[in-house]
Structures are given as structure tokens and as C-alpha cells.
Amino acid sequence: MKRIFLALLTISCGFLAQAQERKIDFVEYDLDNGMHVILHEDKSTPIVAVSIMYHVGSKNENPDRTGFAHFFEHLMFEGSQNIDRGEYDKYVERNGGTLNANTSQDRTYYYEIFPSNQLELGLWLESERLLHAKVDKTGIETQREVVKEEKRQRVDNQPYGSFMAEMFDRLFEKHPYSWTPIGYMEHLDAAQEKDYVDFYRTFYVPSNATLSIAGDIDIEETKKMIDKYYSTIPKGQAINLYRDFLSLSEDEFQEKYNHSKALFDEDQFFTNSSDKGKVLIAKYANKEVEIPRPSIEEPALEKEVIDTVYDDIQLPAVFLGYHSPAQDSEDAKALQMLNTILSGGTSARLNKEIVEDQQLAVSAFSFAFPLEDPGMATIAGIAAKDVPVDSLRMAIDKEIEKVQTELVSEMEFTKVKNQFENRFYSSNSSVAGKAESLANNYVYFNNTNRVNEELKQYEDITREDLQRVAKKYLKKDARVVLYYLPKDKKNK
């Protein structure tokens, strides 16, 4: 044992000393229209990742129009003014690329990875959906069915798949985190075409977008291409004037703007319209698009809420949910480290104690769910066969009490730091990963270079901090206890 301990000591020193030896270099700037651009050159493989992060997630949704942000992610694959329906992904596949997108509570992220000679194609594709995506009835109808199918597959049909929605629903009453990005299907059904169009006009504008590119690129050449496809999009409401020009009839346009569509040139709207048209464009360019961001503060929970969900499952489970601090706070970092003490790796406490030693659960885990506003921390377990779910809950509670009453050991503390370092390098090992990390740091922290400081952030955190946040946030009398029981137990 002594031998092991010594070996561990030698490893642990110098953790942060050499952590940041490899920097991710990048160039960043704003376009006149407010779009933020981040470029990272990495020539090791001839591929490039092109991405846009829109600072809109489910928390920006209207409470009776939930699921919109995620729905838009789907709609954005429907095509655009210059891309026929169903062709968007074919452009990508035909040119050797891959693409995808995802939506969280706080942002929506789109990306393509191409052979590097297709960089311009990627920029064109993303500019098409930013400028004039097909937000129309046909697309809405098609995607509504696809989204419902997705919900069935990912949430309804997945054992315990509804726990996020169920937990957020009970933890949040006022803040829009009370629903999850998938939202409520009836809201999508109830929505009118206008609701969709309004959402597009409000959130899909250059000033709400961050273009992040990483890979085998030439920075100067890339800037020129960006100028071509993105600087040509005017700022402010001018983009919506153009979208209205495309989608409204002459009468509707007249009514809204008191001018005829004839003032404008369809092909070269921003450059070749009549002088009068240009005046209008300039006028609307000066009108800012206001992006609503909720400033609702969720009141603290004041008791332990206990509830049960019946699901198509074989093994009962228990989920404990707590309010957690916003991701940019010091406490959030401490809580993340604490989370790793509890469930990072096979030697973490929940797995060792509850799954392997006591064999009360088939798995036990925790998430520190970092979000822009104060969010959720969850600790959970799925009971082993024939184990009463309450004894599992008690065992988990005991682990929570332990981190509240005792400092974590020096060894565990160092372990977590080592795990963080490893995780950091793994997530930044691909150009796609780097493009996303860079965008995240800009959008969430307004500090792109934080990507190079990420590990240092944890330097000042102490073991006492971990104990403090355990006490502050993992309170027994301010949490949701959610049991998952097999459906048949309800019926029989």
C-alpha cells in the first residue's frame, strides 16, 4: 500500500504546471451585422468543421409554445431559397461531408465536417439557412411528424427517458427551464405558421449567431469567403424586411411597410434595389432585432417534493434533483468537481459503494448539468433486482451526507483534477470538438480564450469548497425525489 501511495504522490505533483502547454490558437472578430466569427487553423488532416451556434434554446421559448427551438433545428434542414426541399443533406453527403445539429436549453448548434476543399460549400449552406430558410407549411408539417417520432424513440420508448422532463418540471415553476428542449407536442400542434415565422425572425439573425470554423484552412482566404457570404447580410431588421419580401404577398407587404415590393430587386435585394428601396433597407438595418432573454429568477425550493412516475421499466429507480448554480459561477465549478467525486469513473463513490460493494443498484450516477442560468444537479440510481428502491435512496443519501460532513480525501481531490485534465484534451482532440469548444466559450462566457484557461479555473478550488457546495446545494429539504416504478405495479 505504501508503495502505491508514493507512486501516486509523484504523479500528482505538477498537475497544473504543465497542463496548458498546448494552446488552441484562434482569430476572432465581429462582422458589421453583429455576427461573431472564430477561426482556428489546424492543418493536420485535410478536413474542416464549419459551425454556427445560435444563442437560442428552449429557455427563450414562450411557455405555451415550447419545443420551438428544437423544432427549428429540424426545420433548418428543410431547404432554403436556393436549396430544394430534401436536398440540404444530399449536398453534404454528395460532397463527402457529414452534418448534424443539436439543441439545448440555452443554444442551438449546427455543424458540417467536409474535406477542406469544400469549405466554401459549408459556408454557403449555413448562410442559406441563416438568410432565407424554408419556414413554410410543408416543412412544418413534415418536421412535426419527425419530431414526434423522435420523441417517441428518445423519450417515451426509452426506459427512464422521461426523467429529465419530469425532474425539470418539478424543480422549476417560474423559470423556463421547467420544460426541456423537446417541449410539449401539443404546443407544436397548436402553433400557427406565424408563430414559426416570428421565431425565425427573432432568433435567426446574424447578431445572435457565432460562426466557428476549425481545420485545414487558410485564415485570410477564409475571411474573404466569410465576407462574401455573411458580410453581405445587413444588420438589424433589414434581414426581416428581405424575408418579408420573399414570403408576403404584395398586399401584405404594402400593409406592413406602406411600400410596394416593386421597390426591390429579387435577385440582388441588398445591392440592386431602387434608391427608395435602399433607403428602406438602411432604415431597417438601423432597427435592432431585440432578442428576448428571460431574467426570471427561480425561487428556492422550500421542501422535499416526493413523487412517482410509472414507466415501461423492469427495475425501479430513484432520481434526486437539486437546484444548481449558473455555470459561470465559482460554485458551479466546485459542484462539478464534487460530481466527479461521486460518479466519475469506476472508482467513484456511487459505483464503488452502492453498485459494487452493497450491490443495491445496477448503476448509480450523478450529473452536474451546467446551464447558463441556475439549473439542475441530479443524483440517481437504478435498483438491482429485488432491492427495495427506498434502501437504494437511503444509501445514496448516506453518500451525500458523507460529502457534506467530511472533506473528500486529498487523493480523491487530486484524482478529480487529473480526470478533468484528461477530459479536456479528449474533447479538444478533433476539429469538430475544437470548433464547438471555441463557440461555447464565446457564447456562454464571452471569452473565447477561456478554452485555454479552462483547467486553470479549477486551480483555486479547495476541498473545503466541495464540502461547502455539498451543504449549500444538496439540501435534503429543498429537493425533488422522483421514484420510477414499473407500470405493472400500478395496474396490479
Binding site: I47, T271, N418
Partner: protein, 703 residues
């Protein structure tokens, strides 16, 4: 006026940045980038290991993959042995307990993984020595501790249980058994009995044989230089000793004479999993392999632009997705096409699969689909090169499969050269559209519809693990069905004949039953109250700590069920006409009494044995649900029932055991009932039975 001028001036300055751009013009690609696949470094160790090194200093991490050189072995009645050994490899060594191993591995933030034929370590470069210390300890000294053996075995037991409810697993098992039926490692599948045969000693022995340096590969990738890699390989692995690797050749699979339909039952399934598969006479490096890849991609190998997707999803909407998979290995190769389909379209879907198999061998593909699928393949090839692991794996494949050394360097060139004639020729040479295994996992109701696809019209039935099984056969019972139920009534009333039995039951006009219900693993106990009144009124209520969570009432004509929903409100549903008809069949104090009224209500399936006793098995259906009741042949007591309950898409199997019979007003009632629903066990204990007490008519009100 002045205002207008300034604003126009402003406009022009504002627009100056906006050059003309024709957005309808799709950008042209730049010159194709050169794809360089760096040659990894190769060196040998004295003990027979070959080291493959691919250096890359982008991030300060390094990985070591130790790959064994043996061919897979036959496991016979211990099928699953290799997998088990791999799963237990990290469960401890003679130097470290599992806890210590986990602790030390996590401490350096490393990941350490193992299977029956490899050990993989990935860590920060600075923790490399420590990581290798752990890795080589496992490699040399894994000791398979007894308690961990028991724990993992338990895990396998639950996994095997879940195979029986997983149609995709069942289809896969059936496919392996169909293609590799005889003395082939791919055709050996773990079952409950083979798991039972595996002993800890078997794992220890197999580990010793399998993990040996001779013929093995050490693949090093990442932030490390050749000099250091050589030093480490020699220091950490050079002194490792062992026997010779195992070598064996296996048959390349069985091709049926004509199309062959194999069916695996999944009770109550609403979808059929269809898998159409055939063996390929092709090993890695075969001159047609790259053409075959293009063919498979275009046929159904991922993405929307494939034949199977276009036909079965986009055109017919039979499924959410249909795919084909190509597997080319040294030991055996095959192509399979599969998807999940609604019961009603099972036969139509098979027809379309067969049509696509036929079509691809008959006519050339069109230019657009070929271009798209080729581009997609070469794009993913290029993207994969980003991971340094890919390059090292290329080298590993070249050695293991005896490929030409420029195989991957020239891969894209060969891929791009594949044309329409190649695709057709490859399909004609390798596809066997009239010698396919058509595997269907689903509901027996589709059986009749799929017979037509079998060349000799005889469907083979496999069990969940791919072993031939006949549909459950009952031994003939020499007794009239009606007689079984009559004898049962006589038994529970201890009467001399059926008249007396009916009389005795008839004396019970009302019944109040209180039952304590205890689901294992649930935090609560529930109380059920059941009231009956002749002829067929029923009331039942389920309470959790004094609160009624569910209630069901049937008054002989109408029925209602009310249950509490999550928000504390109540969901009310009235019985449908069908349900009322079904309820009438069995409502009342003794369900057999209702059943007996019409002999078409039930069938006698025959004799079956359970735990050493013989039983008459009576089956009756209610809606889509069906129940089998087991009556002891000597006592005629009902000791067991099996019910498949179908509620729309919800299907549940509920088996129940009845014990501890007590007499109430001359009729015997079971006081202990154990139900097993899925993997949960529910114990019900009768707390009280009161006969012929007054029950307020209110209780049976349906409103």
C-alpha cells in the same frame, strides 16, 4: 430634402460593404486536398510481439492497444466463455484488487478497457508509466477473483433474461446460427445452460492460453517518439512470456438451397424484426472487397440515399429505417439487410427486400446514386484519418489480414474507380437472391403470411438464442375439456359430483376479500379489496397507504375503471362492448363457473409438466389477451396461470402461482399468490375473506 440626401448618402455608405453575390450559385470545390496517410513505424520484440507506432503530438495523450494474435476458439457447451473472460479481465490481479485497480486507473484520469482479445489504455503522456504499470499487471497477472466471478455471472443472468424480450438480439442470434450452424465460433451463443457450465477455472485457463506475446500486436498511438516507444515496449512488454497462439480455419458459412424462412416468436409483438442475410465467400483483401463496399453502401449501408431506405421508408413508409451491413472477416463474412416493420406489412416488406436483392443483380445502378454513395464513402474515409488511431489500425489490419502494404494508400483511388459495371458484376458474383436466410422475429400471427417465402414451405422455428425450437407442444390429454373444469370445481368444494359442487358454490352469494400486495423492490405495500356478488358483479380497489389509486367495477352489464394519474387527478374509462363480453365470461367468484357456460370459451391444450407435476392446460382468451391455466392432474387444483396481457401496444406476460388453500363456506381459496411480471415479483397475501356478508349495492354502481 436635405434629410433625404443624407439618408441616401448614408445608405450608400452602409451598403458599400455588400458586394454582389449570386447565392443561387453552388460554390465550386477547391482543388482536392492531398490525403497523406503517414506510414507508421514498425518494430519487433524478441518475444514475438510486433509494435506499431503512430506518433502524433497534437495533444499530450498516448494510447496503447495490445491485440492478441489467436484465432477464435470453439467453446461448445461453454459458449460465451471468451466474452466472460474479457468482461472479467479488469476484475483484479494478483497484485491489485479490483478496487485498487479502479482507484489507480481513475487517479491518473486514464481509461483502461479489455475484451477477450485486447487490452486498451489511454492516458495523458505524463501518466504513461503508471498507466502501463496497470495495463501490464492485468496482462500478466489477471486473477479472476471468485466474488467478482459471482457478481458478473449474476449480471449475465439478467442480460440473458433481457435477450428474450429484445427482438433485435434474437434476430442477430438466429442469423449467426443460420449462417454458421456448424462448429463455427460465430454460431456459438451464450445460453442459460452454457453460462451455468462456465466455471472460474475455465476463465483462468482460457486467459493463460489467449494472452500470450507470440503473434500479438502492440499498437501505440499519440504523443510519444520512436526512441521512447522502443524503450517502453522492451521494458514493459519484453519480459512477457507465453505459449504459441491458437490457429484454426473455419468454414465460410452455410448457403441454403433455396430461400429459407426462420421464425422466432416474440409474444405480443406489434412489429416484426426482419433480417435477410447470406454468407459471402470473401476474406479481407479480396479483390472485390472495395467494390462490395460501394455496392453495400448504395444498397442500404447508411444515409437516406440508399435503395432500401428509398424503397421501404421514403416510398412505402413501412419502417423508420432499413439498412444493410457488410461484414468481411477472416473467419467468416456475410451481408445482412434488416429493419423493423408493423405486423400488417411484414410480408410486403419481405417482398420488397427480395425485390431489391433481385434488382441489384439484374440492372446497372444509376449515375447519381453511385456518385453520391461513393462520395459519401470517401468523405468518411478522409474524416476518419483525423484520429491517429485510424492510421495505426490500418497498419494492424495490413499485418493481420496480409494485405498489400499500400492497401490504404491506394484505397481512395480504387474506390473512385468503381463504376456501374463493377457494381453489377460484383452483385451478380456475390449476391445470392434465391438462397437467402429470411429471419423474422415477431408475433405468431404473421406466421401464415411468411410461409410463401420459404422454398419448401416449411418454416423453421428458433428460440431466443438461435436454437431450433418447436412451437410449444403439449402431450395429448385423454379427458374432455369440460371435464377438467368440472373436476376442478369438485376439487375446490370437496364434493362428490358436479351437482353438489355447483350447489356449494351457489351458496356463496357475496364475498369480501382483503389482500395485502407487496411488490418486491417497491417502497410501499398496497392493499387490495375485492367484492363479489352473484351472479357476476365485481368491485376491486387498490389502496396505497389509505389512498385509493385504482378502482374497477363491473355490475354484470357495464364496467368502469378509475385510476389516479400523476397529477393527483383521476382517469376514468368505461368498458368497451368487447370488454364487457369478455368480462362476462369469467366474472364471478369462481371464474371457471362462467367459462363452463359455453364450451367455445376455452380449449384444452393438453398435458404439460412443471416442477415434476403434470397439469392439464386450459386456454381462454379475452380480447387480445390470453390466459393458460394449469390444473394439477391428480388434485385438479389450479396451481399456476400464465397470462399474456395485451393493451394496445403494451404487452405483458404475467405468471402466477397459487398456494396455501383455505376453506370458506366449503370452498377452497388460495391465500398466497405470487405473480411475476417481467422481472418483478409481487407477493399477495389474503388477509381476510368474508362470505355472505352484506355489501352495499352502491359498491357495484357504474357511473
Amino acid at each position: 430634402m436635405k434629410k433625404l440626401i443624407t439618408s441616401i448618402a448614408f445608405v450608400y455608405s452602409a451598403l458599400i460593404a455588400f458586394g454582389q453575390i449570386d447565392r443561387s450559385q453552388v460554390p465550386e470545390p477547391g482543388p482536392a486536398p492531398e490525403i497523406n496517410i503517414a506510414d507508421p513505424e514498425i518494430f519487433n520484440l524478441d518475444n514475438g510481439m510486433k509494435v506499431i507506432l503512430s506518433s502524433n503530438h497534437d495533444i499530450p495523450k498516448v494510447s496503447f492497444n495490445l491485440v492478441m494474435g489467436s484465432d477464435p476458439r470453439l467453446e461448445g457447451n461453454k459458449a460465451g466463455l471468451a466474452e466472460f473472460m474479457g468482461d472479467m479481465l479488469l476484475a483484479g490481479t494478483s497484485n491489485r484488487s479490483k478496487d485498487e485497480l479502479d482507484q489507480e486507473k481513475d487517479f491518473i484520469g486514464a481509461s483502461l478497457g479489455a475484451s477477450s482479445s485486447n487490452i486498451y489504455l489511454s492516458c495523458l503522456t505524463k501518466h504513461m508509466d503508471k498507466g502501463l504499470d496497470l495495463m501490464t499487471d492485468v496482462m500478466k497477472n489477471a486473477n479472476f477473483p471468485e466474488d467478482e466471478f459471482k457478481r458478473i455471472k449474476k449480471q449475465y443472468e439478467s442480460n440473458l433474461l433481457s435477450v428474450k424480450t429484445n427482438p433485435n438480439e434474437m434476430a442477430k442470434n438466429a442469423m449467426y446460427k443460420a449462417i454458421f450452424p456448424d462448429k463455427h465460433p460465430y454460431g456459438e451463443i451464450m445460453t442459460e445452460s452454457s453460462l451455468e457450465n462456465i466455471k472460474r477455472q475455465d476463465l483462468v485457463k482460457f486467459f493463460k492460453e489467449q494472452f500470450t506475446p507470440a503473434g500479438s500486436y502492440l499498437v501505440i498511438v499519440g504523443d510519444i517518439e520512436r526512441e521512447k516507444a522502443e524503450k517502453i515496449a522492451n521494458n514493459q512488454f519484453g519480459d512477457w512470456e507465453g505459449g504459441v497462439p491458437f490457429e484454426e480455419e473455419y468454414s465460410m458459412g452455410y448457403k441454403p438451397k433455396g430461400n429459407r424462412v426462420i421464425f422466432v416468436e416474440k409474444q405480443g409483438a406489434v412489429q416484426s424484426v426482419i433480417n435477410v442475410a447470406f454468407p459471402l465467400d470473401m476474406t479481407p483483401g479480396h479483390p472485390d472487397q472495395i467494390k462490395m463496399r460501394v455496392l453495400n453502401k448504395l444498397f442500404g449501408g447508411g444515409g437516406f440515399g440508399t435503395r432500401l431506405m428509398q424503397n421501404l421508408r421514403e416510398d412505402k413508409a413501412y419502417t423508420y429505417g432499413a439498412y444493410s451491413r457488410l461484414n468481411v472477416n477472416r473467419e467468416g463474412s456475410w451481408l445482412s439487410a434488416s429493419g423493423s416493420f408493423r405486423n400488417e406489412v411484414t410480408d410486403s416488406a419481405i417482398t420488397e427486400f427480395l425485390y431489391e436483392f433481385q434488382r441489384i443483380t439484374e440492372a446497372k445502378v444509376n449515375d447519381e446514386e453511385l456518385t453520391l454513395n461513393k462520395a459519401s464513402l470517401s468523405g468518411s474515409f478522409a474524416r476518419n484519418l483525423e484520429s491517429p488511431r485510424t492510421i495505426a489500425n490500418f497498419a494492424l489490419n495490413i499485418f493481420r489480414n496480409n494485405l498489400p502494404s499500400d492497401y490504404y494508400q491506394t484505397y481512395l483511388k480504387k474506390l473512385n474507380a468503381v463504376d456501374k459495371n463493377d457494381v453489377l458484376k460484383t452483385a451478380q458474383e456475390h449476391f445470392t437472391p434465391n438462397n437467402l436466410n429470411i429471419i423474422v422475429v415477431g408475433n405468431t400471427e404473421v406466421l401464415d403470411k411468411i410461409k410463401q417465402f420459404d422454398a419448401d414451405g416449411e418454416i423453421e422455428i428458433f428460440d431466443a438464442f438461435g436454437n431450433p425450437s418447436k412451437q410449444k407442444e403439449y402431450r395429448a390429454a385423454d379427458i374432455a375439456p369440460q371435464k377438467v373444469l368440472e373436476e376442478h370445481l369438485i376439487a375446490i368444494t370437496e364434493s362428490r359430483n358436479i351437482r353438489q359442487a355447483k350447489r356449494r358454490i351457489g351458496r356463496i352469494e357475496t364475498l369480501k376479500k382483503t389482500v395485502e400486495v407487496e411488490p418486491k423492490g417497491s417502497p410501499m405495500t398496497m392493499t387490495a379489496k375485492q367484492y363479489f356478488a352473484e351472479p357476476n358483479k365485481e368491485f376491486s380497489s387498490m389502496q396505497v397507504s389509505g389512498m385509493e389509486v385504482q378502482k374497477q367495477v363491473f355490475n354484470g352489464e357495464k364496467g368502469i375503471s378509475i385510476s389516479m394519474n400523476r397529477t393527483g387527478g383521476k382517469d376514468t374509462t368505461y368498458f368497451t362492448d368487447e370488454k364487457i363480453q369478455d368480462k362476462k365470461k369469467t366474472a364471478g367468484i369462481i371464474p371457471e363457473l362462467g367459462l363452463m357456460k359455453d364450451t367455445s370459451n376455452f380449449t384444452l391444450l393438453g398435458l404439460d409438466s412443471l416442477n415434476g407435476n403434470d397439469y392439464y392446460v386450459i386456454q381462454y382468451t379475452q380480447g387480445e389477451s390470453s390466459t393458460r391455466a394449469f390444473y394439477n392432474t391428480s388434485t385438479f387444483m389450479k396451481e399456476h396461470t400464465e397470462k399474456v396481457e395485451v393493451n394496445g401496444e403494451d404487452v405483458q406476460t404475467i405468471s402466477a402461482k397459487y398456494k396455501d388453500f383455505h376453506k370458506h363456506k366449503r370452498v377452497l381459496f388460495a391465500h398466497k399468490i405470487t405473480q411475476i411480471i417481467g422481472s418483478t415479483t409481487i407477493e399477495s397475501t389474503v388477509k381476510s375473506i368474508e362470505v355472505n356478508v352484506d355489501i352495499e349495492d352502491d359498491k357495484f354502481k357504474v357511473e
